[in-house]
Amino acid sequence: MNTSLTEESPALTSAREQNTSEIVAKNIYKSYGAGPFAKEVVSDCSFTIESNKLTVMIGPSGCGKSTLIQLIAGFEATDSGEITLNGSPITDPGKDRLVLFQESALFPWMTTYDNIMYGPRARGEDTKDAADQAEFLLNKVGLDAFRDKYPQQLSGGMQRRAELARAMINKPEVMILDEPFRGLDNMSKELMWEYYAGLYEEDRNTNFFVTTDIDEAIFLADRLLIMTNLPTSTRSVIEIDIPRPRTIEEVVNSARANEIKKEVMTLLHEEAMKSFSGGSKAAADFLDAYSKRAD
């Protein structure tokens, strides 16, 4: 896998070109339901997903991060406020912002290869060039031998890599990942962190990664957005100035990483406390889990 990571292909040179894309959310609001039953999920939320950086968003579970992804991806519209990509407002879903969902969204009825080729084929771009790209990506994510397997025949980690390839073939300007490694066992999870960070470091395109896992967040992020509890808004932003490429071992032993971790935990703890006093079950669980980890 490591050799394929550094492999060069003339076919993908275009994909390796850096594009500069920035997403800006300004004072956005989003509620679900109407009248007295309306539930405000996002309230006066502003943040920037800076160009050519890996921005990680972290917040208590159930705090509305997935809603923010629906808004950025253009599957849903904001009630007020604006989200822009390179200055133009986001109105529809598009291949410039591809989402990797929590659960695998690989099409079960297509083989790995057909899944990867879905985007080009759907747009009528089933060309030699697209096929070459698919070959290259299959190699890159180490699934060449699994090209004719259906998603169910792949392990959880393989599915995530296949999905990364399916997104990457469309050369999105911004890659959006919604807790993509949740549900993987710890071993595969850490492998996927290093693997994904490696992919990112290759082209350094704009990436937006949402998680509830502090270690994951600190290992991956250039910038860390810490969100408040429901209704969500940006609590604070931390620049993670640990040099790349990072290894898990380095980060675990890094004093700076631990310093950041404490800071993040304090902030998240406060947020959890707020909703704990508000009686949220999810928040209580969260508080419980994190106070154990802090010991």
């Binding site: 991806a73 598009g94 969902f101 659960e103 297509m110 985007g119 259906y150 025949q153 469309n170």
Partner: protein, 274 residues
């Protein structure tokens, strides 16, 4: 399937268990049916049924009889006629209801009121409004599969994982492409299940319809189908032939379901990998 695999399948432990069970069942049946001769006491229920050996003799006599095979042919024709019509109308209808809210809102209430009416309750009405008996039987058979297929297709198409649609949409797929390459394959397993269940109901319905209508256009006899075969055996007092007819329907139903299973397996290869 290779010969070796085929042999392995036949002589597998599970197959042997099945064979042993059938043999034991036949022995108990034979003893029960002959209980009066054997013990001077007639077993309840089984004592009234002709023994399997007599049934086999009667069956052997029918194997060479073209009118027996004609009954098979007629029932199969009606079942597949009604079933294929139900698929041709039911699948597009179910899909259309799933993707079009307006149509769903307009049509679904009517559908839900008509659905609980058992197909057999339609027999008198369909005899009145279809010009031939054959068409009325075919119509009732059609209804047997129709509702099940529509409900399954509708349910399957409506429960598609939203993220499949969102993923396809954001990769730039057109509405038509999403329908053809996402909605349709995602619904296929439900179509297969609905069809398999529908096929079972079709056999139930066709047999009853043949009995009630007296065997269709030919007025019974050779063109009557297996349902009428059973009925006329009963009227004629040939109890062995009733059993032959029943087992024939069992075999016919099994063959139809197996055919459907094979076709379904070919259409949904990704499910086999589970």
């Amino acid at each position: 399937m290779s010969l070796k695999k085929f042999a392995d399948k036949i002589f597998s432990r599970a197959a042997l268990r099945g064979i042993v069970a059938i043999v034991i069942f036949l022995i108990i049946w034979e003893i029960g049916a002959r209980s009066e001769q054997l013990f001077g006491y007639r077993f309840p229920f089984l004592g009234l049924v002709p023994p399997p050996s007599d049934v086999l003799v009667s069956w052997a006599g029918l194997i060479g009889d073209p009118s027996y095979w004609q009954s098979w042919y007629m029932s199969f024709l009606r079942v597949f006629g009604g079933f294929i019509a139900a698929m041709l109308i039911g699948i597009p209808l179910g899909l259309f209801m799933a993707v079009n809210k307006t149509f769903y809102g307009m049509y679904f209430p009517t559908f839900e009121i008509l659905r609980p009416i058992p197909p057999l309750a339609w027999v008198p009405a369909s005899i009145i409004f279809w010009p031939t008996q054959e068409l009325s039987i075919a119509f009732v058979t059609f209804l047997g599969a129709f509702y099940t297929i529509v409900i399954n297709v509708l349910g399957g198409a409506r429960s598609i994982n939203k993220q499949f649609l969102q993923a396809a949409q954001s990769m730039g797929a057109s509405q038509w492409d999403i329908f053809r390459r996402i909605v349709l394959p995602a619904t296929l397993p439900s179509i297969v299940v609905g069809s398999a269940v529908g096929m079972g109901i079709t056999w139930e319905v066709v047999v009853a319809a043949e009995m009630i209508s007296g065997g269709g256009s030919s007025g019974g006899g050779a063109g009557g189908g297996l349902g009428f075969f059973i009925w006329s055996s009963y009227v004629g007092g040939s109890y062995e032939q009733i059993i032959v007819g029943m087992i024939s329907i069992g075999i016919a139903g099994y063959l139809s379901s197996e055919l459907l299973r094979q076709a379904g397996g070919l259409l949904t290869p990704w499910l086999k990998t589970r």
